[in-house]
């Protein structure tokens, strides 16, 4: 039984009052749990969704390049335009001339996030792994390590940290104000907002769909005039699913673009 079905059950069982969906949808029962090296692991529905989404995306991308032709077919066109969106639109234009070597990484990031976000509107999955904070957090930490490492590699340890701590071109007495802001901005706010943005969007999307669909179900059980409002609520659930589709693409793109600008800041010395 899926957590959403569980929530539906509790809505229907609650009787007279409507019980708003809470956080229980994000904590499904573990399908399989084991302990490895003293660390407890739990394989839940969401873990399975993550694997399936990733495998499906790998399968799709491999299928698009398996038989490349000079005049691309539909599938090849899909894969090529997806990759060129990241390669030309982000790696070349945002990161800069040195950015093309980051195109595979950025593309992997984009397609991984896209595949996982997409699971939030695909029937029977309908929850994105990215609505669990752990997944975006790990992605953001990977990006955090990479852009600092690239900054050190491209500019050298001294210059990279000196430019962040003491922004060139700022009057000396302003460092009192600017240095703390820059430290906060570069080492705390950036990875945090990167993770929170993706997480909160997918989390909010899932909650929205839950509220409208559970609300519709509840209103249909009440009967009478509520059938009208139930219908409206159901319609809103469909509209919100399409809105979710927009958010899915937007967030995958925004995450990659932001990582591109951070890389750009690390590669190019000037701010």
């Amino acid at each position: 039984m899926t957590p959403s079905a569980h929530a539906l059950g509790s809505v229907l069982a609650a009787g007279p009052g409507f019980e708003a969906p809470g956080l229980e949808a994000f904590y499904p029962h573990p399908l399989w749990s084991f302990t490895l090296l003293g660390i407890p692991f739990e394989i839940t529905r969401i873990t399975l969704i993550l694997w399936i989404a990733t495998l499906a995306m790998i399968g799709l991308l491999v299928a698009t390049v398996r038989k490349p032709q000079i005049v691309p077919g539909k599938l090849q066109f899909l894969g090529e335009s997806g990759y060129s969106l990241v390669r030309d639109g982000i790696a070349r234009d945002v990161v800069g001339p040195k950015g093309l070597s980051f195109a595979p990484f950025l593309a992997a990031l984009f397609f991984f996030i896209l595949a996982n976000n997409m699971m939030s509107i695909i029937p029977f999955a309908q929850i994105s792994p990215m609505s669990k904070f752990a997944f975006p957090l790990v992605l953001a930490l990977i990006c955090y390590v990479i852009y600092i490492w690239i900054g050190i590699r491209e500019q050298g340890v001294g210059k990279y940290f000196k430019d962040i701590l003491f922004l060139p071109g700022v009057p000396v007495f302003m460092y009192v104000l600017v240095t703390p802001i820059e430290i906060l901005q570069n080492f705390i706010v950036r990875p945090f907002t990167l993770a929170v943005r993706l997480f909160a969007n997918m989390f909010a999307g899932h909650m929205l769909l839950l509220v409208f669909s559970l609300g519709a179900t509840y209103l249909f059980t009440v009967g009478g005039l509520s059938y009208v409002f139930g219908g409206i609520s159901f319609l809103m659930a469909i509209v919100m699913t399409f809105f979710e589709l927009l958010v899915i693409f937007l967030q995958a793109y925004v995450f990659t673009v932001l990582m591109g600008t951070y890389l750009n800041g690390s590669i190019e010395a000037e701010h």
Binding site: R197, A200, F203, A204, Y253, V254, V257, T261
Partner: protein, 75 residues
Amino acid sequence: MDVLAALTGSIGSVGYGLAAIGPGIGVGIVWAAYIQATARQPESAGLTRTYAFLGFALSEALALIGFVVPFVFGT
């Protein structure tokens, strides 16, 4: 001390409403500026799109933090 005013219920949603004001205005300004730039100079659309998304994402983050905080600190 006597209680002068009390608020019960979902205060987090009030907080989210307050948190959404600024980002709402900010996101509006970002897209308005992008549309204006594109209308004035259509060939700059590709150039400014990245910055539009960047500004949009940065201002939107505040609203999203406001959305998540009630769940984190609620009850």
